[in-house]
């Protein structure tokens, strides 16, 4: 899930400036679950905007704003009201905002901030995180990701900052490397830590030219 928080209303109003007629759009997926979108987000934002003297030309709720096919179909029925508006305020994650801008020729204002949960969490909500680093290390770390569970993304073991199993930046956050150590000890694979791991290849975080030529990549990125 992509985690969002409402932007302060002052920030939204400032970005609207003198634009008076607003179309309001909210996502009914992740943003609904975070309480930043959905029916609740729509009505709260509608009330705030009206209080600030704006006119709402129309509202619309879309199940998954990140899905451009869905956005296009759903918004085609609202085109009149969108045309009357100076801009669209969107209650959704950064991907949703980008998807809307890609299919509607109107100024789009995000009303939410997408907040990092430290990487992708899998489609089913889970504690584990992946940053799609392109060179998975889970094999030698006992299935715990060093890139996301260690605050510094270290590959060769803990820094000197861990205390009581917690990370130096926050006494509430587990030290990823202590967890890796304990897991490897439990499964009898401590020797995995003996080998020096070479630096990450950060270019692997960019989609390769080859990948960009596949139809899979096309489907994922172009609608």
């Amino acid at each position: 899930m992509l985690f969002t928080q409402n932007k302060p209303i002052e920030e939204v109003l400032e970005s609207l400036g003198t634009e008076k007629n607003i179309f309001l759009l909210a996502c009914n997926g992740c943003a609904e679950a975070c309480g930043t979108g959905g029916e609740k987000g729509l009505s709260e934002m509608g009330a705030e905007l009206e209080k600030a003297g704006k006119k709402i030309t129309g509202t619309c709720l879309v199940d998954f704003l990140c899905n451009k096919v869905l956005v296009t179909t759903r918004l085609s029925r609202e085109m009149d009201k969108i045309q009357q508006a100076n801009s669209i305020v969107v209650l959704t994650c950064g991907i949703g905002v980008q998807a809307v801008s890609a299919v509607v020729d109107k100024v789009v204002h995000p009303a939410d901030n997408t907040v990092s949960l430290g990487g992708l969490a899998g489609l089913w909500p889970s504690d584990e995180r992946c940053q799609a680093c392109g060179d998975c290390a889970l094999d030698y770390t006992g299935g715990i990701c060093p890139v996301t569970s260690c605050t510094k993304g270290l590959l060769n073991g803990p820094c000197g900052g861990a205390a009581d199993g917690k990370c130096e930046i926050d006494s509430e956050k587990d030290c990823g490397w202590i967890k890796i150590y304990e897991r490897l000890e439990k499964v009898g694979r401590l020797e995995n830590l003996k080998k020096i791991r070479t630096p990450r290849d950060h270019s692997k975080m960019l989609p390769s030219e080859q990948l960009r030529k596949t139809s899979f990549y096309d489907i994922e990125t172009k609608t």
Binding site: K152, L154, G157, G161, D164, I169, Y181, L190, L193
Partner: protein
Amino acid sequence: MKLIERFEQGKFVITCEVGPPKGIEIEKVIDELEALRSKVDAFNVTDLQSSVMRVGSLATCRLLKDRNLEPICQLTCRDRNRLGLQSDVLSAAVLGIKNLLCLTGDHPKLGDHPEAMPVFDLDSVQLLSAIKALMDGKDMGGNDLEGRPPDFCLGAVVNPGAEPLEPQIMKMEKKVEAGAEFFQTQAVYEVDKFAAFIEKVKHLKVPVMAGIVLLKSPAMARFMNANVAGIYVPDQIINELAGVAKEKRVEKSLEISARLIRELKGLCQGIHIMSLGWERHIPAVLEMAGF
């Protein structure tokens, strides 16, 4: 002078820490070191210690060298990616710096610019390997260098108070494999625990310098116990310091450090003093410890 030469001569090596200023008033920082000239083998110049923005280590090291004081340049992985780090290693070479101490570095969140981008492109082990490669005439991209940097003496750090200790030792082993020739430790107050640590790393056959932090007050000791990973000042020491009148504190503190140094002397190959502004007291501590 490369620090390793001192160890090879069988000398008990003494280093202390210099924190460059926040701002450009560096003369007085260096002037303070004059009193230590004959007592200390080399000076660690910190690299934005505790993630606080200051004058850089490289420039300060060169200023020390100009005064004939031997610098150890600290390099952390916090602020520079592999391009910046390798470039600074070459810069160190052209500035005539012979000793480099490689560390991961504190997270920026702990310092005075918590909004800064944490880099950590390399970790301390990888940094050591990269410097080794530069000394062999190649950069990390496999490109040849025009002129090989001279062999540096490479140092690293270890935290003997970490719990669990084993992952620290495993990382220390990798640092040795990657080229670390000596180690400085986090502050030590528990001699028994340090002795147990030394026993566990003696197979590595590298000189270890025990860290000494001068305790300015009982409050500072309690603060470190609560906030600094791997440092534990036993109650007995805190009580000893708290038990004397305020005007006797400095003397007591120096006495405690001198005693620790005497007790640690037989266990390690040197000491590294982190005086945190108390540079002026170092000569007295060393004298009381018998140096």
